[in-house]
């Protein structure tokens, strides 16, 4: 018999234990969920014969500390970097690749300043674009809620207004859910007799069925998957939509959120952070993105390949928030959209640019994707988002 793991911590030194704790922290920084139990078992592994060789130590720790396929894929790289080079101490970005010192500083900044750091400075951009981009929303500084609702999201800068916009976003997300739930209860008819349970219940009556057991169809709630474009061309809107995502993930029992620019990142876990500011800061960081354009087609391909089967069922609505400026091949985007369409119930494409005057979907990517979109709607202000609600409730 081998002693229960954890009973016998003495064979490994305190230094090794400290290193292991460091390693666990590095993994946590990379999105691994590691608790005390795992750390304790990891110590037990270090004290076991498996620790004598890397060829057995690495797979052992990997089995213990990984919980998902994405963990599994990242693990080797992190392990090598930590134990061999000890270089990549705080890697944390899209997909877990190393990131620059500059963005690490941004983490620090985001943590200390309570100001909504993710929001862009709109002023310069607005002047660049001139009035053509202004549309309906030149109402900065307006303080009534109604005005905020109508103001183009790019133009909301006052911290109070931002807070109000965020509250609205969260409320909107919740009200979408409320509608959906109510609708589901109206549908709860069509009951059937549960014969087995009826007999069981009536055994005490000598088998005479007095007390009947019914079975009702369990209707599962609608699931919402949101894919948010966080590329440079969207950056005036990203910060707001990140808040919206937080509201959605918080309010729906089954919601998943992804952010993409050149790659796709699953961000639901980060969004489940109760502390809105922290969650948004963390995401804002991811969402700031890297130059190099948007690869909507590739991101969708990743989604279809790795996430769609797990996350999408016949009751899933997929919401894509993007301006449709794709630097990849439009054919690719079209093909991936077709695949996605086959799997899910509805595809909703929100495009902030629709709110701009004279906009028509000219971007090649947008045109390739449109045939597969069930609802193509503007999303440049809160009013336009609120207009979506009845549609979502009808799905």
């Amino acid at each position: 018999m081998v002693a229960a793991p954890g009973d016998n911590p003495d064979p490994i030194g305190a230094a090794a234990a400290r290193q292991l704790a460091d390693f666990a922290r590095t993994l946590r920084d990379n999105g691994f969920r590691i608790g005390l139990g795992e750390t304790r078992d990891a110590l037990a592994i270090l004290a076991s014969p498996a620790a004598t060789r890397t060829s057995s130590l690495k797979p052992a720790l990997r089995s213990l500390l990984c919980a998902t396929h994405s963990d599994w894929e990242k693990f080797d790289e992190i392990f090598e970097a930590f134990w061999r080079g000890r270089g990549m101490r705080r890697a944390q970005t899209l997909g877990g690749t190393a990131e620059s010192a500059a963005s690490r500083r941004r983490i620090a900044d985001a943590g200390t300043s309570r100001a909504p750091s993710g929001l862009p400075d709109h002023v310069r951009r607005l002047e660049d674009n001139g009035d053509a981009a202004g549309g309906r929303g030149r109402r900065e500084g307006a303080s009534s809620a109604e005005n905020i609702v109508a103001a183009d999201l790019r133009h909301i800068t006052d911290p109070d207004d931002i807070a109000r916009a965020n509250a609205l976003a969260a409320r909107l997300a919740r009200s979408m859910r409320a509608r959906l739930v109510r609708r589901e209860q109206v549908r709860r008819r069509g009951r059937r007799l549960d014969l087995r349970r009826t007999i069981h219940r009536n055994v005490s009556h000598g088998g005479t069925p007095i007390d009947l057991a019914w079975r009702r169809r369990k209707i599962k709630p609608l699931r919402l998957v949101v894919l948010l474009d966080a590329s440079g061309s969207m950056n005036l809107y990203t910060a707001f939509f990140v808040r919206f995502l937080h509201g959605v993930v918080d309010a729906f029992r089954e919601a998943e959120a992804f952010v993409f620019h050149t790659r796709l990142a699953h961000v639901s876990a980060s969004l489940r952070d109760r502390d809105v500011t922290r969650a948004v800061d963390r995401l804002g960081l991811m969402a700031q993105g890297i130059g190099g354009g948007t690869r909507i087609g590739d991101s969708l391909a990743t989604f279809n390949r790795w996430h769609a089967r797990r996350l999408i069922n016949s009751r899933t609505a997929v919401m894509i928030v993007s301006d449709g400026y794709d630097t990849g091949e439009p054919e690719r985007l079209g093909a991936e959209m077709r695949r996605l369409r086959q799997r899910c119930r509805r595809i909703i494409w929100l495009n902030p640019l629709i709110g701009w005057r004279d906009y028509s979907p000219q971007a090649r990517g947008m045109r390739a994707a449109l045939p597969y979109v069930d609802l193509f709607a503007p999303a440049h202000n809160l009013e336009s988002l609120a207009a979506l609600e009845p549609y979502l409730a009808r799905i």
Binding site: G37, S56, R62, S63, H69, R310
Partner: protein, 293 residues
């Protein structure tokens, strides 16, 4: 008795399971830490085979629970044999026995139907419990499973608490049709089963089809690896490879390059949808063959 990692590895190959390098470590770790092991991977990579091999390694019984949507405790854990209970009540009706005695009698072990989970914890020798495709079961069932896996005891209201006689070795598999809960993931060790590499797949073919030519087995493995890289909806699994290899062997093919026609015709063993079939045209087959040779 706990086997060492090397012993597990040796026994795995002795049972005829062609293991990838790390699975032996994962199986050893299961023993060492007494945790269940969650196997994930695409359909057809051989997750269920791992459980069979593990049972063979420990010379233990394999108890399998196949999950599906709507699976509940009655199908997974235990159920009363209602028909026999009713019969027992009827036969005792005239005897004047008092109600308590009848009740005690009909809710006894004799009328209990063991389902896989209960069976697994009541064996003298620890069995291997395979909970297959756990992602198909509902979330409620997953929560129940989690409780069972941490306490290894169940309570049956009419009988009381039943504690595990022996702790089974638990393997869970998931195809990823639903996201599993964090709690379940954290409770388990994790191993991602990938498609075998060319060398391993060739060895699997040789092990399963002893009559086949070694050169052909390697060619088939390479070809399948190339097909998997194509953009297909249903990627062929190991079972498909074996079907295809058996077909080719049956057709007396000795070298894929010499019989591109037969290769193309028999590819239906690997391809499961119309769309994929349309994608793998004759030209594509030839291009792939060119790479393989």
């Amino acid at each position: 008795m706990t086997l060492t990692r090397e012993a597990i590895s040796d026994r795995l190959s002795a049972t005829g399971y062609i293991a990838d390098r790390d699975i032996a470590t994962a199986l050893w770790l299961m023993e060492f830490l007494k945790r269940p092991l969650l196997l994930e991977g695409e359909a057809g990579v051989g997750k269920t085979e791992v459980a069979k091999a593990l049972a063979a390694v420990h010379e233990a019984e394999l108890i399998r629970l196949q999950c599906y949507e709507g699976l509940d405790q009655h199908a997974a854990l235990y159920e009363w044999n209602y028909q026999r209970q009713l019969l027992a009540i009827k036969t005792r009706e005239g005897t004047g026995e008092n109600a308590d005695a009848i009740e005690e009698h009909i809710f006894s072990e004799r009328y209990l139907l063991e389902r896989p989970l209960l069976a697994a914890i009541r064996r003298q020798q620890p069995p291997v419990l395979l909970i297959d495709e756990v992602d198909r079961a509902d979330e409620e069932f997953e929560a129940f499973l989690l409780e069972l896996l941490s306490d290894f005891q169940v309570s049956i209201p009419e009988l009381g608490t039943i504690r595990a006689v022996s702790i089974p070795r638990v393997l869970l598999t998931s195809n990823g049709t639903r996201e599993l809960s964090d709690a379940l993931r954290r409770r388990c060790l994790y191993h991602y089963v990938d498609f075998p590499d060319v060398d391993r797949e060739a060895r699997i073919i040789l092990a399963r089809l002893p009559g086949i030519d070694t050169g052909l087995a390697v060619q088939i493995a390479r070809m399948v690896a190339a097909v998997r890289k194509e953009d297909l909806r249903k990627v062929p699994g190991v079972a498909e490879t074996l079907d295809w290899a058996a077909t080719l062997a049956g057709l007396q093919v000795h070298d894929l390059r010499e019989e591109p026609e037969a290769v193309h015709e028999t590819m239906i063993c690997l391809i499961k949808t119309h769309e994929d079939r349309a994608r793998l045209t004759r030209e594509v087959t030839e291009r792939l063959l060119g790479k393989v040779a």
